[in-house]
Symmetry: C2
Subunit: 458 residues, 2 copies
């Protein structure tokens, strides 16, 4: 008995020492991030000197150059570009829309603040001038399929404020953005307008990718600002005879050459085993992509910078990846996974930040349950820094292919979701709407996780 | 044994039923708050139609009228005013400051963006034009006490970004706002300028109350915006000969009549046992007091509105109190406690929201440890709504006197603290910087806590 007690005491003492060593190292990482202007300044330059950077656009090339430079300045041992072909959709100038209500001899015209959805076809130079029909949901679309032919379908897709997880409302309401156009086209609709996928209190329209079903005509589609949408829908509900004008020059150019931008800290013990941390470099065209996903890019660069700055020598090679083309193709994520598989690379873990630069709440992991159970012992170490939960399930669009290809354990950084969809894909996703401390707290929690995974494995 | 097993099974079954009943009721409260415009709209009217509302000012009276009306509209069974005398400090117009650097024959003048500290005396109509001296901290003040006489002391009080709890940085750096002027006056300084108590990235000065020590002359004091402060301090550090001009007409008028605004839902079972929930109605003069503490006021009103709207009949009387004069006197909180003691009232619990309308993180309780241990069993019910911790320690400036007078258990709502001191007491504490969902999440978590305390006691 006494022997066992002594051994237990000894083991718990090792545990306590390891924990206090980790705790001290985490404090060092935190001090480094919180007292540095680097992440916020990187984001300012990306937003203000590069701005919008959709795949195939001139902004994409400027952003790639920015990423290389930022990774070099952060102290990467190596920085390179991984080429991949990317789609090249562009808006072709300003979208236009208005509607007119006919009451007796009077016609009242009202402007609509809209954005064509990403990947949408244009309307032709003359635009469309067609009767509107209000469709509340997909069930109603089925029930009234005979009525939509030759019309502009107005979907009343509400972003449910009652869901506690705003990403759930985004998935639900977002189905009308992704599948709505083709489902309406199936019954002969000529175009689609949706409510922007947001519950924000302003009138900014929010774009985002649609997915055409090749079985049906590719009809143009756009998102309306919520105030405009509320007004239009109220008029339609009141039975008014409404005609909508909608003009967009959007469309695709031939695919272009794009790149994942990669920087690494080479591992001291296992240089050929990789830990990936990344965000996506592309952003929609109407804004600066500050939260989506400038934040994820500078978070990831800051992980590298902070670990290097405190003199930490990672055991594994830490790769920071600024992925190409997440928004409308995910070609960068697929390229990264394909090459990893083709080269037989060993990937220990991948972490993505693509939910904004807000205050930290949790990490969501996709890895075997017993491993998740083990690493939950780390949560108390994270709590002072804001992450209070290691959730079951999560990752990111760009690292999903790596998991699919190699079974790599992955995780996503989950900041607070209250404000994300107020800005997401809209013109107010700008640097001024990112808070320095919130941004820094995200980066530091990511750095803590990378440190722990590098030290203990998974 | 079997009997005991059966009883245990029965009890745990009651426990499970109670929990699922609570969980359903909490969902109902949440749906009510999250789908209502009420809290956000109340805040808009308070910010835009009333605006600044420092004790004694015309804004104070307008705010009291707003509070009465809002409580009535929320469905209070009774609304009344509790009179108390309040101090009446005012700025007396725009503060002015600049500094000049003499280099050879050239004199370079630079404007300073400042705000006189609350409770500060003015400089007289001509202002002060005096040499500046940089003092980094109170230790240096002691060491160089002979040098400050007749000068304007510039304190280099840094808001430490490395503290994980921003309120700690506020307390540390804020000592220079509260005690700095009198400590400098002790050695003959003529005025004090401090860095604003913030780590924000803009140049807005932040006011807030100072506390004069009656043993020393009451010298004027003001806070500088951080960019101006950085520049001035860099010049002083470089040894430049600097003169500062500072003019303020601030001062006190005779005390005025103010009021706590109180609304109640009368208890069905214990009408004479009170649960208090409140914020403070006053705000500093340069802004709208949106987060400080408009948010706390509308949070508290929303608790009442939501419980009433879902038809909940509280067992205890729930009093919503919009306290007078928290910022520079706390006369409202003292009045409330004094009257409660004088009347022998029974107060079960008091909750205050005075840390902004940001996303929820925790409640902090001041109550016996065994009681805190018991109610921590509720935390899992709160987690889906954002509160993940019941912390030991907390309350609020306005309910502290109630605890001191009657030993009432108290708690404070702790939203995320990342952005609070970017806005606190500054001109950017406006409605536009409050997010509807974050505001609603705070109100709903407070409503959940009031519901649980009303149902189970403490």
């Amino acid at each position: 008995m006494k022997g066992i007690v002594w051994i237990l005491a000894f083991l718990s003492c090792i545990g306590a020492n390891a924990q206090s060593e980790d705790s001290a190292m985490m404090r060092k990482i935190a001090d480094q991030v919180l007292s540095s202007p680097a992440a916020y300044e990187n984001l300012r330059v990306l937003c203000k000197n590069v701005g919008a950077r959709l795949a195939g656009s001139p902004g994409m090339l400027k952003a790639e150059a920015w990423g290389q430079k930022a990774l070099e300045a952060a102290g990467a041992d190596k920085v390179w570009l991984q080429e991949c072909m990317v789609p090249n959709w562009n808006r072709g100038g300003k979208d236009e829309a208005w509607y007119s209500i006919k009451e007796g001899k009077n016609v009242k015209k009202t402007a609509l603040d809209i954005l064509a959805l990403g990947n949408s076809m244009g309307t032709g130079a003359k635009g469309l001038l067609l009767p509107a029909i209000l469709i509340n949901d997909f069930n109603e679309l089925e029930a009234r399929q005979a009525e939509v032919k030759g019309k502009i379908v107005v979907f009343n897709n509400i972003f449910d404020p009652k869901n506690l997880n705003t990403f759930r409302s985004y998935m639900e309401s977002g189905a009308y953005r992704r599948q709505g156009p083709s489902l309406a086209a199936k019954y002969g609709a000529s175009a689609v307008l949706i409510r922007s996928i947001t519950a924000s209190t302003d009138n900014n329209p929010h774009t985002g990718g649609l997915l055409y079903d090749s079985a049906y005509p590719k009809i143009p589609a756009a998102a309306m600002g919520l105030k405009d949408a509320d007004e239009l829908i109220a008029q339609l509900r009141a039975g008014k005879e409404i005609t909508i004008f909608y003009k967009s020059n959007a469309g695709f150019q031939p695919d272009a050459v794009g790149h994942n931008v990669i920087g690494e800290l080479t591992g001291s013990e296992f240089p050929d085993r990789y830990i990936t941390v990344g965000g996506h470099l592309d952003s929609w065209d109407p804004a600066e992509g500050a939260h989506d996903d400038g934040a994820g890019c500078v978070h990831s660069i800051e992980v590298l910078r902070a670990l290097k700055a405190i003199g930490y020598k990672p055991r594994h090679t830490i790769k920071v990846v600024l992925f190409a083309n997440e928004e409308n193709g995910m070609r960068g994520g697929h390229k990264y996974a394909d090459e990893a598989r083709a080269k037989g690379e060993k990937h220990v873990f991948a972490l993505e930040s693509d939910a904004g630069g807000f205050t930290p709440r949790s990490f969501g992991f996709s890895l075997p349950k017993d491993k998740l159970r083990n690493i939950r012992a780390w949560v108390p170490l994270f709590e002072p820094y804001g992450v209070t939960q290691f959730a079951d399930g999560g990752g990111g669009a760009d690292i999903g292919p790596l998991r699919a290809a190699l079974g790599t354990p992955i995780a996503g950084f989950n900041p607070d979701g209250a404000r994300y969809f107020d800005l997401h894909h809209a013109r107010n996703d700008v640097f001024e709407n990112v808070n320095k401390r919130e941004l820094d707290l995200g980066a530091l929690n990511m750095a803590l996780l990378i440190y722990m995974v590098d030290k203990y494995g998974l």
